[in-house]
């Protein structure tokens, strides 16, 4: 019995580690994060889409939310949108340019790097952004992981 549970645990470890190795070989999973102080604990994929694609700037509870994006061509930005809405950066740009004239919906604020976004995050609790999982720090709260 004890020996069998060990064997199982071993197989599990091998499987998980090999999966992790695999993921890190291409890209790390991206985590959607909010400041540690935020009331939000978890968000659905749909909620994340609605926030980043400009549908809402408020959550259901009336809490204001402000998405932060990265500049065009920033590493893992492509990966983020691909895994979120299965669209390329170019398609995302086209989407926003269509809404540009009316000015009703605004694209998320774009920052130059992940350092800037993390910095902004620590200043404003209504912020929401995304970072590779390995860059998640103590100040952040993961609300969704995009595999």
């Amino acid at each position: 019995m004890t020996r069998l549970s060990w064997l199982c645990r071993l197989i599990l470890v091998i499987t998980v580690s090999s999966a992790a190795t695999c993921a890190s070989a291409f890209a790390d999973p991206i985590a959607v994060v909010v400041p540690k102080q935020s009331d939000i604990n978890a968000l659905s994929r749909k909620q994340v889409i609605d926030i980043f694609m400009g549908r809402f700037d408020f959550l259901e509870n009336g809490q204001k939310i402000k998405p932060v994006d990265y500049d065009n061509g920033y590493p893992f930005r492509e990966q983020f949108y691909r895994s979120l809405v299965n669209k390329s950066e170019r398609q995302i740009a086209a989407y926003w340019s269509r809404l540009l004239f009316s000015g009703r919906a605004k694209p998320p604020t774009q920052v130059a790097s992940v350092e800037v976004s993390i910095d902004e995050l620590s200043n404003d609790t209504s912020m929401i952004t995304y970072v590779p999982v390995n860059l998640v720090s103590e100040e952040m709260k993961i609300v969704l992981v995009l595999e």
Partner: protein
């Protein structure tokens, strides 16, 4: 007519085409509308997604530009996001679901499009009308062309043919002319014309031939009728079953009002002869006629003689075998000839002066008398010669001699007046009498001779004033058997008579 039918057909066709074209146009409009609206679904979805009313308005405005769309509105789950100013609520909108721009399974709202039914309808109608006009024009042109073609190729020749045919007068087939309408094409009409002409020709030929035949038959019949009616002989056709079938006037005059064969047979004095002749015809079936002379009593109870010819008529046309027989009867009145014959026979056998048989006639009758000798009867021949006849002739003249001869003959005849008795003037003043008596004793024969002598010797009145008397010498020969010849008997009588003459005349001698 053809034109009217064509127009009616094209009108009916137009109606169908109109309906089809209208339906097609409406379907096409709906399709177009659908395509246009589909093009706006994605932007509209985005506008709803980001709740961008301006964008929605813009999209609706761009939709409304389209003639097919009367009004449109965009709704999200909470209600109307945007709508065009014109909104026909009476019409039913076409709804398009607006999907979540990023999540296909999610619907964020809907796009309602109100089609401009009035416009679509008018478009459909105008389109259908155009189609109908096109079709009408084409079918009219086609009908006209067909009509002209049919008229040229068929109707005109047929009308001409019909007119020409009306002019043909069937009441006078002899003057039938062929139809000529200058139609030379070898098509159905041409065949029809040549067929009609052949028919006309045949009718005419037949008619002429028929008429010629009829005229010939009539003439022939007339002649036959003439021959039949005007024949001097009676001609009749008699069926053994049905009686007299046919008779000409002469036949009718002879036989009178009778119908049956039985009456015909019995009108003659010897019906059995006629029956026999008919029976013979029937049994022998011979084609050669039977001729008989027959006598009958006419209406004035005079005896008439007819030469009857009976011939069997074999009717070729009658195929049924029955016992009915057709007899042709030809009656030729021969009364005159018969009378003449009788007269000449009489003249040949009688003496003109005395009316007794002459020597020739006497010989015949005497022969017959001798033939019938039996031993129960007595037959005798008597030779009577007048005594001294020549002096009477000389002294009183020949007329007186004739009167004496006539008177003597009368007296002989008066005594021998039985049917069988034969009295003849043998020549000059010589008479022969042949007679037969059932039973005659020799004395009775003598008495007879004496009576005769006395009778002859009675005075004879020559004129009112002159009288004379004459005696006779008589020789009688009695015949006993039929083998005795007349000549021998006469010789015996002659011998006896001369014996009397030698013994002083005015007596008789029986041998």
């Amino acid at each position: 007519m053809v034109g009217i039918v064509g127009i009616l057909v094209s009108i009916a066709g137009s109606f169908i085409v109109f309906q089809l074209a209208q339906a097609e146009q409406q379907r096409f409009s709906a399709h177009l509308l659908n395509q246009i609206a589909q093009g706006s679904v994605k932007p509209a979805a985005i506008s709803v997604y980001v709740n961008d009313i301006e964008l929605a308005q813009e999209i609706l405005a761009s939709l409304q530009i389209n003639d097919l769309i009367l009004a449109a509105e965009i709704r999200n789950e909470n209600g109307v996001v945007a709508e065009t100013s014109l909104k026909d609520l009476s019409g039913s909108p076409i709804a398009f679901a607006l999907p979540h721009p990023f999540l296909d399974s999610d619907v964020v709202g809907e796009l309602l499009v109100y089609p401009d039914n009035v416009f679509i309808q008018s478009l459909a109608i105008s389109d259908a009308r155009n189609s109908v006009w096109e079709m009408m024009l084409v079918s009219m042109a086609l009908t006209l062309t067909m009509y002209v073609a049919i008229y040229q190729l068929l109707s005109r020749p047929l009308i001409k043919l019909s007119t020409a045919f009306e002019r043909v007068d069937p009441s006078n087939p002899e003057l039938l002319e062929k139809i000529d309408i200058q139609y030379t094409r070898k098509d159905e009409v041409g065949f029809l014309i040549s067929g009609i002409n052949r028919l006309i020709h045949a009718v005419r030929i037949n008619f002429v031939a028929e008429r010629r035949l009829r005229m010939r038959t009539e003439k022939l019949e007339q002649r036959f009728r003439l021959v039949f009616d005007k024949a001097s002989v009676g001609i009749g056709l008699i069926s053994t079953h049905k009686g007299i079938l046919l008779e000409n006037p002469v036949f009718h005059d002879i036989v009178g009002q009778i119908c049956s064969l039985h009456d015909f047979v019995n009108m003659f004095d010897n019906p059995e002869v006629v029956s026999e002749a008919i029976h013979e015809l029937r049994t022998t079936q011979q084609s050669s006629p039977i001729t008989i002379d027959l006598s009958y009593q006419n209406s004035e109870q005079q005896t008439r003689w007819v030469n009857c010819l009976f011939a069997l008529v074999i009717d070729q046309r009658s195929t049924e075998r029955n016992d009915d027989m057709l007899i042709e009867v030809i009656l030729n009145d021969v009364t005159e000839r018969k009378e003449k014959e009788a007269k000449s026979k009489y003249l040949a056998q009688h003496d003109a002066l005395t009316g007794l048989l002459n020597r020739h006639g006497g010989e015949i009758k005497l022969q017959a008398l001798l033939q019938s000798i039996t031993n129960k009867t007595m037959t005798a021949v008597m030779l009577i010669d007048l005594d001294n006849f020549k002096p009477i002739n000389d002294s009183y003249g020949h007329d007186a001699g004739d009167v004496v001869l006539q008177e003597t003959a009368q007296r002989i005849k008066r005594l021998f007046n039985d049917d069988d008795d034969v009295c003849c003037r043998w020549g000059g003043d010589e008479f022969v009498v042949g007679f037969r008596r059932d039973v005659l004793l020799p004395s009775a024969l003598e008495t007879l001779c004496n009576t005769l002598l006395h009778g002859i010797e009675m005075p004879i009145t020559l004129t009112n004033t002159q009288h004379c008397a004459i005696s006779a010498s008589i020789g009688v020969a009695v015949a006993y058997s039929p083998t005795q010849s007349l000549e021998a008997l006469l010789n015996e009588a002659d011998e006896a008579m001369y014996q009397v003459k030698r013994e002083g005349r005015s007596n008789y001698m029986i041998v």
